[in-house]
């Protein structure tokens, strides 16, 4: 029993590491715009499909595929910002959200037109045996996912708190008008924040696809849902909260799956979010600055 709990927690934390990266990207975009970007996951899917397509046609290696995934995600993210959010800055929040939904459909359609099968294989990150630690097993790709997520968080922290660009991002999050009065080119910062958020999502998307060994067009919706859910669980707009929310979501899913069966896994996570929102827990309803 205890061994099961520990094993589930290990699995949950590795899955949660990817969710945390999705949530961080979501939170960055929400932080600078106060808007939810529904096309966030589909932009990541675009990157993953670009990599799969390259692999099918030219047979690129794992590292090159990672680079293509991230670059594709960054391009798609910047495209979303230019098309959906730049025209509606300071305008209608609903218009921007509906526009991001339209781009979501665009990415999905593009994926199914260029690659019409529902499922494609993606080269596995690692297909050897898992690591055995006494009664516990650890998947190597899970460990890679965890280590990469930690490294990505550290890099993000450095960018935000030690670089000139990070100073601009925090200024825009806290006071967009004052940021432009300080001489910061706010529209240009926004494009780069979308690119940064999509790069984080691209890293997570690549790791997820490579450890599942397959890709479907559902990846877009899946990443948006996981990111949104983790962001909400951790508290809207908080970066440390996004990491905690991602890990919490991973743990909740792993334990629900073990105790109630796989069909309950997602349902319990949504139910929990619903209960927490209905109860108006303070960390979800008050949004923090950064």
């Amino acid at each position: 029993m205890l061994a099961d709990l520990i094993q589930n927690s290990l699995d949950g934390v590795t899955a949660g590491a990817a969710y945390a990266l999705f949530a961080l990207g979501f939170t960055l975009i929400f932080g600078v715009l106060r808007r939810a970007n529904l096309a966030y996951g589909p932009a990541i899917m675009f990157g993953c499909y670009a990599a799969t397509w390259t692999h099918l046609n030219f047979g690129a290696g794992l590292l090159l595929l990672a680079v293509i995934t991230i670059a594709g995600g960054v391009l798609a993210g910047a495209y979303v910002e230019r098309l959906c959010f730049a025209p509606h800055r300071g305008g209608s929040a609903i218009a921007a959200m509906v526009a991001s939904f339209a781009l979501w459909m665009q990415f999905e359609e593009l994926a199914t037109i260029v690659m019409p099968r529902h499922l494609y294989a993606f080269p596995a990150l690692y297909d050897g045996p898992p690591l055995e630690l006494g009664p516990f097993t650890l998947r190597i790709d899970g460990l890679v996912m965890l280590a990469t997520a930690i490294a990505a968080c550290a890099l993000l922290w450095w960018i935000l708190y030690r670089s000139r660009f990070g100073l601009a991002v925090r200024a825009v999050i806290e006071q967009p008008a004052a940021a432009s009065l300080a001489g910061i080119n706010v529209p240009w910062v926004l494009v780069r924040v979308f690119a940064l958020a999509s790069a984080l999502g691209g890293v997570a998307g690549y790791l997820v696809v490579a450890s599942h060994g397959q890709i479907t067009p559902m990846l877009g919706m899946w990443s948006t849902l996981k990111g949104l859910l983790a962001m909400m669980l951790g508290g809207l707009g908080s970066l440390p909260g996004a990491v905690l929310g991602g890990l919490a979501l991973g743990l909740i899913e792993a334990h629900s799956q073990w105790f109630f069966g796989p069909q309950w896994r997602d349902l319990i996570a949504y139910l929990l979010l619903f209960v927490l929102l209905a109860a108006r827990v303070p960390w979800m309803t008050t949004r923090s600055a950064s």
Binding site: L167, A177, A178, S180, A182, G183, V186, S290
Partner: protein, 239 residues
């Protein structure tokens, strides 16, 4: 010599014109002050000059160049900095980071560091609070920080929107002392103030704005001063 010329500027929020053709001049090396009751359009004018709002019509000429419609960061690059109404410091950033943000366009870290040191001598309270989150500072300290942040871009023209708003009388005097000091250092200042008495003490020239238009201009000490102060507080409609 005119440093800033506002020529027939119209700025609207939707269909409502907040500025209905404003013209005025700020002379090189002067303290010029803009008075007027609430809702006269003073803040709208400041936001239009700084590029946050786009004028519908008219020209804003700085150093002989029309800057109307230029984005705000490009206007900062030309040498115009606005200390906005309600200060708008970055609350979760430290006081020091607020100053660094103000120098965002300056690449030379060495001179930026020197400027920060110089501002710390001018505002000793900010030095004490350097590592503290700006949101935890008192109103007066936040106002000093907002002024210092604007100075970090080394402006030729400093726009100040209601720097005395909500501050205790002693702090207001401190702010006006700083305004005169900056002026002595060669910065031209265009000041919006509700506190007409204080403003007229430091300014060389003033404009009175009412309902989106400049209705009066002159030099402090003239006979009309009492009337101007009355209208600055009340507006002519109530007269």
């Amino acid at each position: 010599m005119s440093l800033l010329g506002v020529q027939d500027v119209v700025t609207a929020y939707g269909k409502i014109e907040a500025l209905k053709g404003v013209s005025l001049d700020v002379a090189q090396g002067s303290i010029t002050c803009l008075l007027g009751p609430n809702g006269a359009g003073k803040t709208t004018l400041m936001m239009s000059i700084a590029g946050i709002l786009k004028p519908k019509r008219g020209r804003i000429v700085f150093e002989g160049q029309n800057i109307a419609g230029t984005p705000p960061h490009a206007i900062v690059a030309k040498g115009v900095a606005l200390v906005p109404e309600n200060r708008l410091v970055f609350p979760a950033m430290t006081a020091l980071e607020n100053l660094q943000a103000g120098a965002y366009q300056r690449a030379d870290r060495k001179t930026v560091g020197e400027d920060i040191e110089r501002l710390f001598t001018r505002f000793p309270r900010l030095k004490e609070r350097a590592g503290q989150q700006a949101g935890t500072l008192s109103g007066g300290e936040q106002q000093m920080l907002a002024v210092a942040r604007a100075l970090m871009s080394r402006p030729k023209l400093l726009l100040m929107d209601e720097p005395s708003l909500g501050l205790a009388p002693l702090v207001v005097e401190e702010i006006f002392r700083i305004v005169t000091e900056l002026h002595k250092d060669g910065v031209s200042i265009f000041l919006v103030e509700q506190n007409a008495h204080m403003a007229l003490k430091v300014a060389q020239h003033f404009y009175l704005m009412e309902q989106g238009k400049v209705t009066f201009s002159g030099n402090p000490g003239s006979l009309a001063e009492d009337e101007v102060i009355r209208r600055a507080y009340l507006g002519s409609a109530q007269a």
